[in-house]
Amino acid sequence: MNTPTAKSPAEKAGAHSPVPLPAASSGVTTAGPALRSPGSAAGRRAGGGVRRQLPVTPWLFAAPGLLIAAAFALYPFLSTLVNAFTDRRALVPGEFVGLANFQELIHDEMFWIGLRNSSLYVVGVVPALVILPLLLAMLVQKHLPGITFFRSAFYTPVVASIVVVGLIWVWILDERGLVNGVLEMVGIGRIGFLSDEWLLLLSAMFVTVWKGLGYYMIIYLAALANVPKELHEAASVDGAGPIRRFVTVTVPAVRSTMVLVGALSAVAAFKVFSEVYLMAGPTGGPAGEDTTLVMLVQRVGTGLTGRVGYSSAMSVVVFVVTLGLMLLVLRANRKEDV
């Protein structure tokens, strides 16, 4: 199925190892001949030679981390699975109800609206976050004077909290905000970016893309650094213009990174919460028409009357869809390799 020989070494490196960034590779951790993969001779020899320790020492080292992982990731995950089949409420333990929560979901209009919006979010955000950061990375790839300043500046939105970013754009897109001020000035008139159901969802997607650009740009920069210059030069000699070189040289060379970015951004987009919560309000608009699935989980499950069981059933849907998205993207990648 996989044809490893068809892949360039650079591409494989991009797919399987943490992307080595040129600027960061001077760190002490990658000293000389030490690059051994986990589970290789290094790991075994490490254990083999070391006996001067109490049997309990390794467990003492690992205990805090294991305890936190078990108590605050695995345990809540399992209890979410269990709760999904009960009618548990915030202050009432609840009983096993079989598939009743899931049957109710099928007839719950809000659930379908949430599922629709979260899915639309994936469809709207992923293509933009796969392509735009790649173009941006190509723009800042060349070593021009001042280019490190531009790289850093483009990364700034990643550093800011989503709350800060959301409130900044709520103000810019406000009925009387910056964008509408300009639109009125040029005679187009004011647009209700935050009052129209669909424009609001689009605006939120725009904010998500705006905040994510710099992050994925850095990932692409590392991948682009692995594209051999000779390929571009050979294509140039053959008379290929910039667009043709982009399609025939750059895209195939960074394709596995594009798949990675697609998977990461798809999973993140489906779980969208903060952008829409801040821009549309806690209920997702007056009638909840902009609610996303995670907003619904939060709204249904919290508070004194929170329906823990029912919102757990929604959480299970969130989990299954994100897992499915991940597998779908990876599978699509594998098929194209055949």
Binding site: F61, A62, K142, W169, S315
Partner: protein, 286 residues
């Protein structure tokens, strides 16, 4: 004009019009990515008598004042909230660095029964999406009596599974010979960890520290769920609250957001190398 060429650092020659186009694009993207922050800063400095809704928009404050930063503290205790955020973020740095270094070292260098199971626990924990367990996490925290406290905000992320695996990788990448020599010289596990292994992974530790700080400082969904007493709000939750109050004045919200974002931008400006490196190391494990 189009024949004019400039020699670049890599020795190749580029037509001037291409360079001009490139810088024009760079400046356009710069305006789009940094402009909104500057607009927010400008709004936060505008005086009470200025029309902040004017069209055409007024880019610079005509009566600049710092008064909004004082006034925002009258509506929400913004400095207390900043202190709460700082507490959680600092604690998150300490717990993540200590916890993931210890566990990462055990997984990479110590032999014990159940090591593979331990690795698996961290991988599974990393794969669980926070959004899908948030309600169970909340009931869990309430059963522990820690809801509505900063400890409750801190605990779930205080030793990130991904950080443990990052540290494990860093330790695995060290040459084993030095530790072996120390072992032969009679150093025990703790001494080998503290004196030999740990100083060699400072870079990865810095990445863990920075992302732990940023993650805690910026977090929204979990503190929003676990905190409901305005007394204990962190800065992000406080800003959301301010945004929802009836006293909503755009100048004040702007001042609040600048207070929240300034420390991180400063930190980024000083330590960008590690920010970029963290993207590379974290991306694959996402």
């Amino acid at each position: 004009m189009s024949d004019a060429k400039l020699a670049l650092a890599d020795g190749r020659r580029t037509p001037v019009w291409q360079l001009v186009l490139r810088y024009a694009l760079l400046l356009a993207v710069l305006a789009l990515t940094v402009g909104p922050f500057l607009w927010q800063l400008s709004t936060s400095l505008k005086g009470p008598n200025e029309d902040i809704f004017s069209s055409p928009p007024q880019l610079l404050p005509s009566e600049p004042t710092l008064n909004n930063y004082a006034r925002v503290a009258d509506i929400i205790p913004v400095w207390d909230y900043a202190l709460n955020s700082l507490k959680v973020a600092t604690a998150n740095v300490v717990t993540n660095c200590v916890g993931s270094a210890l566990a990462g070292y055990a997984l990479a260098r110590l032999r014990f029964r159940g090591r593979k199971v331990a690795v698996l626990v961290f991988i599974l924990a990393m794969l669980v999406p926070i959004e899908a367990i948030i309600i169970a996490q909340f009931t869990n925290m309430r059963d522990l009596g820690l809801n509505n406290s900063l400890v409750g905000v801190l605990l779930p992320g205080c030793i990130g599974a991904m950080n443990v695996l990052l540290m494990r990788n860093a330790f695995l990448n060290l040459p084993y010979e030095v530790e072996e020599a120390a072992f032969v010289d009679g150093a025990n596990t703790w001494q080998r960890f503290l004196r030999i292994a740990l100083p060699s992974v400072k870079g990865t530790l810095a990445v863990v520290a920075i992302f732990a700080f940023m993650g805690a400082w910026d977090d929204f969904l979990w503190p929003l769920i676990v905190l409901n007493d305005p007394e204990n709000f962190t800065l992000t939750i406080g800003l959301n609250y301010l945004h929802g109050t009836f006293a909503n004045d755009e100048r004040l919200v702007a001042a609040g957001t600048i207070i929240a974002v300034a420390p991180l931008i400063l930190m980024f400006a000083c330590l960008q190398r590690y920010f970029f490196r963290g993207v590379g190391e974290g991306a694959v494990k996402g």
